[in-house]
């Protein structure tokens, strides 16, 4: 057995001697992302002393607000400002933080996790919160310098470093993926003066959250922010040149990016590419532990995996065929898990649809539920092309089944609640589309409407 690097390891040895039970059960959390940060809050709020908690994180930081990385890239926030739990916080709460550490193996028979450093830690309750990584794209020649993901502080710093040089000589960047993350990355780069082209497979941006009208509106706003678009295209291959300038070489390759070749054959020159096409859950540890997984680690309504002592949380878990990429349901998971671990209360997790928001300055959008109208549903729209305001509510069987708001997102949450609560909204239409405040007025005047 390897060196014990923390007090809990010592306890493991002496477990039998400590039957008088001054010893608290060991709660080990693998991963130190936002889910873990929130879970810790929820646990401390409930039972600050029930568990001896160990957090193992790959990054060399405490917990930070990953959502704000795009703000960091855009220069609206600094890395310091997005730190939520510095190392001192863990100390203060008597939590053992192992940052810069990676778990390589879980032995669920002995209830021990093994770190890359060979340190082993016993757990009574284990939580896997390993998150996700950028999904691979099928493009050729990805093993060259200048291709980045946009997942963590390290990615952000690298992209920022590139952008910083853009001031002097014109730099070009390709962002692949027209989802939220891709748009935020493209926006951040464009703000730094980088000439950005965003490549997206669909005909319009955010196609999972927006319809064509809103997608085109978003595009026109982003174009005003100096972002070019290659929509309806995929990257076939990255192209490279041999590095002649030492400044741009990477550790791994002497070849550096010169641009991308699209499936259409078009070439776009770029010195960096940021891949933001989606995420792949980090489920590999589940394989070592012999617990069930599918696309991600399978959990039940109480966030338990197929091993009752192991839970999973956040982007690495799969619940009822759903995986997760937005914070809202993950916060709910944290509460379910904390209730069970701390209070032994079985509060089932319910996965609710989540409204989408985009953190790009000057762009307001809100989307939830259906995007496109389906058979038997009604669709109300409001379009102001000059103000770039678009509102759409889809009503099915009298209830809201989809919301797309662009340019002005007021009442979005009110609509969302009406959708969640399955309220019949027939009589509120179309006033509701303009704002929920108009509906009460309508009710007051009873059937007196403008048309």
């Amino acid at each position: 057995m390897a060196n014990t690097a923390n007090p809990r390891a010592d306890m493991l040895k002496n477990q039998q001697c400590e039957s008088i039970t001054q010893i608290k059960p060991s709660l080990v959390i693998i991963g130190n992302g936002m889910a873990t940060g929130r879970l810790l809050d929820e646990i401390i709020k409930r039972t600050p002393n029930k568990y001896q908690i160990t957090v193992i994180g790959k990054e060399h930081f405490g917990s930070y607000n990953r959502i704000m990385l795009s703000a960091v890239l855009a220069g609206d926030a600094t890395i310091d400002s997005i730190m939520q739990k510095p190392p001192a916080w863990y100390k203060q709460h008597n939590i053992n933080l192992l940052s810069g550490s990676e778990v390589t193996y879980i032995d669920n028979k002995t209830k021990v996790v093994t770190l890359a450093s060979d340190v082993q830690i016993h757990y009574d309750e284990l939580i896997i919160a390993t998150g996700s990584r950028t999904a691979k794209i099928p493009a050729k020649n990805q093993n060259i310098a200048g291709i980045f993901n946009f997942r963590n502080i390290s990615d952000t710093e690298k992209i920022q470093a590139f952008a910083k040089q853009a001031g002097s000589n014109s730099k070009q960047a390709i962002v692949i993926g027209g989802g939220l993350l891709g748009l935020e990355a493209a926006y951040g780069l464009a703000l730094s003066g980088v000439e950005v082209t965003l490549v997206h497979r669909n005909k319009w941006l955010l196609n999972r959250q927006l319809d064509k009208v809103a997608g085109f509106m978003l595009q026109s706003i982003m174009e005003q922010k100096n972002i070019k678009f290659a929509l309806g295209h995929e990257v076939a291959a990255f192209e490279s040149i041999i590095a002649t300038n030492a400044e741009i070489t990477s550790e791994d390759s002497s070849e550096i990016l010169s641009g991308v070749r699209l499936t259409s054959g078009e070439f776009i020159s770029a010195q960096i590419a940021v891949i933001a096409t989606g995420i792949t859950p980090n489920k590999e540890l589940a394989e070592t532990a012999n617990i069930d997984f599918n696309r991600a680690i399978l959990v039940n309504n109480y966030m338990q995996t197929s091993d009752a002592a192991i839970s999973a949380l956040g982007e690495c878990c799969e619940h009822n065929h759903a995986t997760f990429g937005l914070v809202d349901p993950i916060w709910a998971q944290c509460i379910t898990l904390a209730e069970r671990l701390c209070n032994n209360v079985q509060k089932p997790f319910q996965n609710a649809p989540v409204p989408t928001k985009l953190k790009v300055s000057g762009v307001q959008l809100f989307s939830a539920g259906d995007v496109e109208v389906s058979e038997g549903s009604q669709c109300f729209t409001l379009l102001d092309n000059k103000a770039l305001i678009y509102r759409k509510i889809i009503v099915k069987n009298g209830k809201i089944s989809g919301i797309v708001l662009f340019g002005d997102v007021s009442s979005g949450m009110a609509y969302f609640e009406l959708m969640q609560q399955q309220i019949i909204v027939n009589t509120m239409m179309p006033e509701l589309l303009i704002g929920d405040e108009f509906v009460t007025t309508i009710e007051d005047e009873q059937k007196v409407s403008i048309a």
Partner: protein, 904 residues
């Protein structure tokens, strides 16, 4: 003549550049006096003239808003020939040349003038003189034909002259007023208020309303008899029979002052076996009938107040005489508080009759039937071509235009394409007529579309001249402001044409007083009372004699004190009541009883039809060219409507507040159904005002059969069998617009707003999909907001120019929705913030409820204003506490930096 009696009361008071003028209202026949305040060539305020005997200081809503009708909007500013602006000289030369050539080729009866009760007496006089004395045709008729011809003829038959014996004061002193065929509460509000006030002061006074409709007047009556339409003469014949039966006749008066009673009574009795047969004929309860008869019989002072419900009938003259018969038979005439009082519709309907403006009259209460009278007029005018026979009456006149007999017509101050029966024939006739001259103030009249020559006329406030109201009171309208553009007074326009026709000497007028003096002189010319000492045997007696004014000074004319004619040597201050001595204007000086066989309207409905009645609404005047310009006058009733009894609504499957279509004579009327118990079953009511300028298809007169009274030519406007069916709208909605637009929907109706216009719209076609439905109307707009649903059930469109709301359209296939566009009306032409203007699409004010200020927390939609409110309440001392209270910052946390700024 003694001018001293006309003291100078007109003393314009100057307060900070304002002058106050005493003038008259140009609307209904009450003829109220007005004090108008003028500043900078604009009438800025009007109020009732307390000294005017008609209104004693009161004004109705139409009169009170006269100053709001001013303005250049839709005014005609230049003469036009075939749509091209021309000089006055060219315009009048063209008219004169064309009339001259037509007369030369086809004779004087190939031309005609169609005049109006809106003209001033001087205008009327000159037109009548030109046609009847100098062109040589009797073809001068007037819209008074549609209004007063029956009463005028009835007066002539009974009294020997067209004379209203009593006056408005009689309405104050009558102990019972029988209102028949009139809704004065709406159409003559000021005299109606006098009746109501009199009853308030003495509650034993009775108001009896006889009207098929339960009108506003009927609702406030002591007794309402909803008789069968057109059965009025049955009612009064029955009354005569009752009076005889009950011994309530004034036998002494009949014997002394009347002629023909026995035959008249027998004729009345011949139609009924007994009084209950009268009740059956009138379709009312016998007890109600008897109650009303009893009131008439037992009240000493009774006034019958009648108007268009009597006049606009195929037997209107007979109805008038049936009324007069009862008053003569009881001596309830020619004394205070008693009489048969005909109230005119128009401000100068009586003035027109005084000058002879009807084709059946010659001039100054003189007629064609007597060659001596023709000779008298010829002598006075020194007329080279005096007409010797009656001209064509309005309906016949337009028929003659249609048949090509009349080849040139000059229409002044009236809108026959809207107001004539079978108005589509008038349209067709004018389209065909080689020369249509229209003197008019406003562009938005339907008739002007058929004019070859348009002559811009001055209007109220601009022109000076006299009018005579319903109780013989002559008043003078003042010229207070300058007419816009090249608009001229009607008398000047006619005079100019007369000059070019070669009649310069006979039409040498410099000022309306010149005309008035001549008119006054003619009234006294060879006119003496049959019992007068100094009398030429060839004199022809006319009660209408204002010869005391034949030399009136311009100053006294301009400051004329309203006075009732006659105004002559015997009555220098005028005469309140006529026939007080029981001496009438007939040859034997006795009043004539006229035997009446009561008749129902000529055309009765078949089983599939309803009877369309038509009339005025409270706040509009005639074809709306003036009142339609005032926003507040559109608020009481803003759309053509159809009042329908609930049984008929069920029978024809009509829904309340939905549109229905009436049809007759190939014309349609689309109006909103108003289901009401105020209508009898089988009878509907429509307002007469709407026309092609205000609605898609609402010229009620186009559905009126051109049936006329054979004695006077007045059309039967009150009884038109028509077909009725639901309009079957697919959608309805409205458009609020800064500019007037042409709507192409099957149904539309225009409403003037303080700013811009509102159009109520409906169609049987599917509702469109986006702003392209408005793009043709507003080619200058490229900034639109569109709200719709994919099923095309809802569509709202706002159009902006420079961020100002220019138009707003809202429509829905849910036809049960009521319309409330007040909020949007207020937003028109205002600049709207681009980021929040979409909220206008609600069409309603959120009362600021939705305004949370700049959005701070997008996740929970918490805005700056909400946060500031929470901070103000003192409960929130930190970002965390804000989060607890408002949830802001508790989801993604992106707004926490901004939230912190609230605490620094």
């Amino acid at each position: 003549m003694n001018d001293i009696i006309f003291t100078d009361k007109q003393s314009p008071t100057s307060i900070t550049g304002q002058t106050i003028s005493k003038t008259n209202c140009p609307y209904c026949g009450v003829g109220c006096g007005i004090e108008a305040t003028v500043e900078n060539n604009k009438v800025i305020a009007v109020k009732g003239n307390a000294e005017h005997p008609a209104n004693l200081g009161r004004l109705c809503v139409k009169g009170s808003s006269l100053h709001e009708t001013q303005g250049l909007q839709n005014r005609i500013l230049s003469p036009r020939i075939q749509g091209e602006n021309v000089s006055w000289d060219e315009a009048t030369s063209t008219v004169a040349k064309h009339f001259q050539e037509t007369i030369a080729k086809y004779g004087p009866d190939s031309v005609a003038f169609y005049l109006s009760g809106q003209l001033l007496t001087e205008d009327y006089y000159v037109a009548n003189k030109l046609m009847k004395g100098f062109i040589g045709s009797g073809n001068v008729d007037t819209n008074s034909r549609l209004c007063m011809a029956s009463a005028s003829t009835a007066h002539k038959r009974a009294f020997g002259e067209d004379v209203v014996a009593g006056c408005y004061d009689d309405l104050d002193s009558a102990n019972a007023v029988f209102i028949i065929g009139a809704n004065p509460a709406y159409a003559h509000p000021i005299v109606y208020q006098r009746m109501i006030k009199a009853r308030e002061e003495n509650p034993t006074r009775k108001i009896v309303v006889i009207d098929p409709r339960r009108t506003a007047s009927a609702k406030d009556a002591d007794l309402h008899l909803a008789i069968k339409p057109g059965s009025d003469a049955y009612f009064y014949n029955g009354l005569l029979m009752y009076l005889a039966e009950q011994g309530k006749l004034d036998k002494d008066y009949i014997a002394k002052h009347c002629h023909g009673f026995e035959q008249t009574l027998q004729t009345a009795q011949s139609q009924f076996s007994d009084i209950s047969a009268v009740a059956t004929a009138c379709d009312i309860e016998l007890s109600l009938l008897l109650e009303s008869y009893q009131i008439f019989a037992e009240t000493d002072n009774v006034v019958t107040f009648f108007s268009q419900g009597i006049n606009q009938s195929s037997t209107g003259v007979d109805k008038g005489n049936a009324i007069i018969n009862c008053h003569l038979a009881t001596g309830k005439i020619g004394r205070e508080g008693a009489g048969a009082f005909s109230i005119t519709g128009q401000p100068n309907a009586m003035g027109g009759r005084e000058v002879g403006g009807l084709s059946t009259q010659l001039a100054a209460h003189l007629h064609f039937e007597n060659s001596n009278e023709i000779a008298l007029v010829q002598r006075f005018w020194q007329a080279p071509n005096i007409a010797t026979k009656q001209g064509l009456k309005a309906v016949d006149m337009f028929d003659a235009v249609d048949s090509g007999k009349i080849k040139a017509i000059w229409i002044m101050a009236t809108n026959p394409v809207v107001s004539m029966p079978n108005a589509n024939l008038v349209k067709r006739a004018l389209e065909k007529c080689p020369m249509v001259v229209v003197s008019e103030c406003y562009e938005n009249t339907d008739t002007i579309n058929y004019a070859d020559v348009v002559l811009p006329a001055s209007t109220w406030g601009e022109k000076q001249g006299s009018v005579t109201n319903s109780d013989r009171t002559i008043s003078v309208h003042q010229s207070m402001i300058k007419a816009p553009g090249e608009a001229k007074n009607d008398w000047q326009i006619i005079t100019d044409v007369a000059h070019k026709l070669g009649f310069k000497d006979a039409f040498n007028y410099q000022h309306p007083v010149d005309i008035f003096r001549e008119h006054a002189a003619l009234s006294g010319f060879e006119n003496s009372h049959p019992l007068a000492e100094k009398r030429d045997k060839n004199d022809i007696y006319r009660i209408f004699d204002i010869s005391a004014l034949a030399n009136i000074s311009q100053k006294n004319y301009e400051n004329f004190i309203p006075t009732k004619w006659p105004i002559n040597t015997e009555n220098p201050n005028g005469l309140k009541r006529i026939f007080t001595d029981g001496v009438f204007a007939t040859k034997n000086q006795k009043a004539n009883f006229i035997p009446i066989i009561a008749q129902l309207p000529k055309i009765l409905p078949d089983k599939t039809q309803v009877v369309m009645n038509s009339g005025r609404i409270r706040d509009q005047w005639h074809t709306m060219t003036r009142t339609g310009r005032v926003a507040k006058l559109m608020t009481h009733s803003d759309e053509p409507y159809i009042a329908v009894n609930p049984d008929d609504a069920q029978r024809f499957q009509l829904a309340d507040k939905q549109l229905a279509v009436l049809s007759n004579l190939g014309a349609e009327y689309i109006g909103r159904v108003n289901i009401t118990n105020e209508q009898r079953t089988g009878e509907i009511f429509v307002p007469i005002h709407w026309n092609d300028n205000f609605s898609a298809s609402a010229r009620a007169s186009a559905l009126v059969n051109p049936i006329t009274d054979s004695l006077c030519g007045q059309p039967e406007f009150k009884h038109s069998p028509v077909n009725i069916k639901s309009f079957n709208s697919v959608w309805s909605g409205y458009l609020i617009s800064s500019q007037a637009v042409n709507c192409s929907t099957t149904y539309w109706s225009k409403i003037q707003l303080k700013q811009g216009h509102k159009y109520l719209l409906s169609d049987q076609q599917e509702l469109g999909d986006d702003e392209t439905i408005l793009a043709n109307i507003y080619p200058q707009i490229d900034d639109w907001i569109v709200l719709k649903d994919a099923q095309q059930n809802v569509l709202r469109i706002a159009g902006f120019i420079d961020n100002k709301l220019h138009c707003f359209f809202a429509a829905s296939t849910d036809l049960t929705l009521k319309f409330n566009s007040r909020f949007i009306e207020d937003q028109l032409n205002k600049t709207h913030t681009i980021k929040t203007r979409f909220k206008l699409m609600s069409g309603i004010d959120s009362d600021g409820k939705g305004d949370v200020g700049d959005m701070i927390c997008s996740c929970f939609q918490v805005g700056e204003k909400t946060i500031k409110q929470a901070l103000k309440s003192g409960q929130c001392k930190s970002v965390a506490s804000l989060g607890e209270k408002l949830q802001c910052g508790t989801n993604c946390g992106s707004c926490i930096p901004e939230l912190k700024t609230f605490f620094t």
